[in-house]
C-alpha cells in the first residue's frame, strides 16, 4: 500500500522540523512547501491526500492559497486543515473564514501537541 501524502505548507523552520519529525514515524509521506506559490505548484504536480496549511506565509497568505485550491476542480476535494498561531480556535473570525472557504478544520498550533495533530490527521484521512 502506498503511503498517503501530506503537504505541509509552513515557512517557519522550527515548526517544519517539529512536524516532519513527528510525522516521520507515521505511515505518511510528508512534503513541505514554504510559500503559497510553492504549495500550489506541488498541489498541481503531486496531488496530496491532505494539506496542513499555515495562514501567515510570505507573499500569498493561507486564505488565498485555500481559495485557489478550492477553486480548481483538480484540487477541490483535497481536505485542508488550516494551522495558525493567530487568533483562537473558538468563535474567531479567522476560523469562520477558513471553514467558509472549505477547510475541514482550524487548529491553533500552540494548543496541540504533535501527537494530537497526528490523531486529527489520521481521523480525517480515514473518514475520507
Amino acid at each position: 500500500m502506498t503511503k498517503k501524502k501530506i503537504l505541509l505548507v509552513e515557512d517557519e523552520p522550527l515548526l517544519i522540523g517539529l512536524y516532519k519529525e513527528a510525522f516521520s514515524e507515521e505511515p505518511y509521506s510528508m512534503s513541505v512547501a514554504e510559500s503559497g506559490t510553492d504549495a500550489l505548484v506541488q498541489v498541481n504536480n503531486n496531488k496530496p491526500d491532505l494539506i496542513l496549511l499555515d495562514i501567515l506565509l510570505p507573499g500569498m497568505n493561507g486564505f488565498e492559497v485555500l481559495r485557489k485550491i478550492k477553486a480548481s476542480s483538480k484540487s477541490r476535494d483535497i481536505p485542508v486543515i488550516v494551522l495558525t498561531n493567530l487568533g483562537s480556535e473558538e468563535t474567531d473570525k479567522d476560523r469562520q473564514l477558513a471553514l467558509s472557504l472549505g477547510a475541514i478544520d482550524y487548529l491553533v498550533k500552540s494548543y496541540h501537541t504533535p501527537e494530537e495533530m497526528i490523531k486529527i490527521v489520521r481521523s480525517r484521512l480515514s473518514s475520507k
Binding site: 522550527l14 517539529l18 513527528a22 498561531n85 483562537s88 468563535t91 500552540s110 501537541t113 504533535p114
Partner: protein, 546 residues
C-alpha cells in the same frame, strides 16, 4: 499733582467715548470688553483692575488725584503717584471721617458726589463701585481746588457707566456668585461640558467642546445632538443615555466612543455625566463632561498591536518547545524517574505559557471589540454543571468539599456557550486555587428586577478561601491587577482572568458582583436575564446541546 495733564487716547476713554454715542454699532463690543474687565476682576484681580483703572482715570482727569480704597479690606488699592499727603492715607485707612464736615467713608453714597473740604483736601469725589462679589471699592478723587466743570461731568459719566454695568451685571448672568462661578466653570474648565435637554437638544456647550468637535457654542446650542455629535460606533450610545436609563434609578453614566468632527476627523471621546431628574424621577436633563481621548486610544492601540505581535511571535517557539517536549514524553521509557520529572515540569511550564499567551490575546480582542459572541439559547445549569464536573476532581484532590445545588426553576438564557464555559471555568478554578480548606459551593437564585420586572438568574459561587482585602476589591476586575494576597499564594497568573470574566459576562448582558472578607472567603454572583419565550423561539434553531 501732575504737571502735565492731557487726555490720552486710552482704551478706557475710547470705550467711554463710544458709549456716549448710543447708536454706535460697536457699543455692545466695548461694553462687553469693559464688562469682561470688570467681571474678571474678582479677588486678587480686583487689585490689578483697580490699579489699571486708576491709572487710566488719573490720566483722563484735568485736575485732582485718584485714590481707590478697598473698604472691605480697609486698604488703599491705588493712589495717584502725585499724592504725597500721608495723612490722607492714614485717615482713609483708619476709616476716620475725611472731611471736617463729618463725611465718613461709610456714608459715601453711590454715584458721584463732590464735596468741598478744608485744606489740604479741597474736594473729594467718591464713587462706590460694587463688583460682582461683596467687595466695596471706593473711588476717591481729591483735588487741591474745586474740580472743574469738565472733570465733574466726566466723573458723573464714569458713575453712570458703572451704574450701567451694575445693571448689566444683574440682568445678565452675573445675578449671583454661583451663576458666575458656573459660567467661569463652563467656559474655563479645560474639558468639554455639555448640557442636554431630555430630548437631547444642546443647552450648554462650552469652548473646549469646540476644540474637540469643531462646532462653536453658537452652532451647537439649540440643535439636536445628532447634528453636531456624529457617533461612529455601531450603537448610538448617546441616544441610549436617556432611553436605557429611563426605568432605572441609575443616574451616572460613562462611556468611550468614536465621533466624526466638523472637519470630518475621527476622534475618540470619553463622556461621563449624570442624568438630572425631577421630583417624580423623570429625566429632565443630562449633563456630561467630554474629553478627547484620541491620543490615549491611539497609544492603547499601538500597545495592543505590540502585545498582539509579541504574543503571536511567542506562540511559534512555544509550539516548538511544547511539541518537542511531548515527543520526548512519548519516548520516555528510557528516561530515569528524575529525568521524567524534569520533562513533566518543563511541559507544564510550557502549558502555562500557552495559557498566558491566550489570555493576552483575548484581552486585546476584547479591548478592540473584535471578539465575536455566538449567542444561542442555553441552559445555564447545563453549563455550570459541566464545568463543575470538570473541576470537582481538582477540589477533591485538594481536600475541599465541592457542592453544586441545581435549581428547580428555569435557567434558560441567551449567551455564547463557549464563552460562558470559560467564565465559570475561570471562577470555579479561582475558587479552588485560593481556598486551602473548607468548601466551594455553587447555587442558583431567581429574582425579578424591581423596576423593569425582568426575570433574572444568579449563579452564586462561594468559597472559604483567602478572600480579598476591601482595599483590593475595586481593582479585582481590572486588567493586570492581582491582589497582594493572591500574589503571596504564589499562584501563577497575570491578573487577566477576572478582567476577561467580567468583560465576557457584560458582553452577554450579564453582571458580576463580588463580596469578600479576608480569611473568610469570597462570593461571586453572576447574573443573567432569563430569556423571554419570544426570544427563545427566535434563536431556537440554534439550540445548544451538550
Amino acid at each position: 499733582m501732575k504737571s502735565t495733564k492731557s487726555r490720552p487716547s486710552q482704551l478706557w476713554e475710547q470705550w467711554l467715548a463710544r458709549l456716549h454715542g448710543i447708536d454706535d454699532p460697536q457699543k455692545d463690543y466695548y461694553r462687553l470688553e469693559l464688562l469682561q474687565l470688570l467681571t474678571h476682576s474678582s479677588g486678587a484681580d480686583t487689585a490689578r483692575f483697580c490699579s489699571r483703572f486708576g491709572t487710566i482715570l488719573c490720566h483722563s482727569l484735568h485736575s485732582g488725584s485718584v485714590v481707590i480704597f478697598d473698604k472691605k479690606n480697609n486698604r488703599i488699592i491705588y493712589k495717584d503717584p502725585s499724592i504725597s499727603d500721608r495723612s490722607l492715607e492714614k485717615k482713609i485707612s483708619a476709616r476716620l471721617p475725611i472731611s471736617t464736615e463729618g463725611i465718613s467713608i461709610r456714608q459715601f453714597p453711590r454715584g458721584v458726589k463732590i464735596y468741598s473740604q478744608q485744606p489740604p483736601i479741597k474736594s473729594i469725589c467718591s464713587l462706590k463701585m460694587n463688583f460682582i462679589s461683596d467687595e466695596e471699592i471706593f473711588l476717591i478723587v481729591t483735588s487741591p481746588e474745586s474740580i472743574p466743570g469738565e472733570d465733574r461731568q466726566f466723573l458723573h459719566f464714569v458713575a453712570g457707566v458703572f451704574r450701567l454695568f451694575e445693571k448689566q451685571l444683574s440682568t445678565e448672568r452675573m445675578l449671583s456668585q454661583e451663576q458666575r462661578l458656573l459660567t467661569l466653570l463652563t467656559q474655563h474648565i479645560n474639558e468639554g461640558l455639555v448640557l442636554f435637554s431630555k430630548d437631547l437638544a444642546v443647552k450648554i456647550w462650552n469652548r473646549p467642546l469646540q476644540r474637540i468637535t469643531g462646532y462653536s457654542p453658537k452652532e451647537a446650542i439649540g440643535k439636536n445632538y445628532q447634528e453636531i455629535i456624529r457617533v461612529l460606533d455601531k450603537s448610538d450610545w448617546l441616544s441610549n443615555i436617556t432611553s436605557s436609563y429611563k426605568d432605572s434609578d441609575q443616574s451616572g453614566f460613562i462611556f468611550d466612543g468614536k465621533i466624526l468632527t466638523k472637519a470630518k476627523q475621527t476622534k475618540w471621546i470619553s463622556v461621563s455625566g449624570s442624568l438630572l431628574r425631577d421630583g417624580s424621577g423623570e429625566i429632565e436633563q443630562a449633563i456630561a463632561l467630554v474629553r478627547d481621548i484620541s491620543k490615549e486610544k491611539a497609544l492603547e492601540q499601538r500597545k495592543n498591536e505590540f502585545i498582539s505581535i509579541a504574543t503571536h511571535e511567542l506562540r511559534t517557539p512555544i509550539t516548538a518547545i511544547k511539541g518537542y517536549l511531548s515527543l520526548l514524553q512519548s519516548h520516555a521509557e528510557q528516561l530515569s524517574d528524575k529525568q521524567k520529572m524534569y520533562l513533566n515540569n518543563a511541559y507544564s511550564a510550557t502549558e502555562r505559557l500557552v495559557g498566558l499567551a491566550e489570555d493576552l490575546l483575548q484581552v486585546i480582542r476584547l479591548d478592540e471589540d473584535r471578539m465575536k459572541f455566538n449567542l444561542q439559547v442555553v441552559q445555564l445549569t447545563k453549563i455550570v454543571e459541566k464545568v463543575s464536573i470538570d473541576f470537582s476532581e481538582k477540589a477533591r484532590r485538594k481536600g475541599l468539599e465541592f457542592q453544586l445545588t441545581l435549581p428547580p426553576f428555569d435557567t434558560t438564557i441567551v449567551a455564547d456557550p463557549i464563552r460562558l464555559e470559560q467564565v465559570f471555568a475561570n471562577l470555579i478554578d479561582n475558587a479552588i486555587k485560593y481556598t486551602t480548606k473548607g468548601s466551594i459551593s455553587i447555587a442558583f437564585e431567581h429574582f425579578s428586577e424591581k423596576v423593569t420586572k425582568e426575570d433574572k438568574v444568579t449563579v452564586v459561587i462561594k468559597d472559604t478561601g483567602i478572600g480579598i482585602d476591601s482595599k483590593d476589591l475595586d481593582g479585582v476586575f481590572e486588567k493586570f491587577n492581582r491582589s497582594d494576597r493572591a500574589a503571596n499564594m504564589r499562584e501563577p497568573g497575570a491578573g487577566l482572568g477576572l478582567y476577561i470574566v467580567k468583560s465576557f459576562i457584560e458582553k452577554q448582558q450579564g453582571k458580576i458582583a463580588l463580596k469578600s472578607r479576608p480569611r473568610k472567603g469570597s462570593t461571586f454572583a453572576v447574573t443573567f436575564p432569563i430569556a423571554e419565550v419570544k426570544m427563545r423561539s427566535n434563536i431556537q434553531g440554534n439550540q445548544y446541546n451538550y
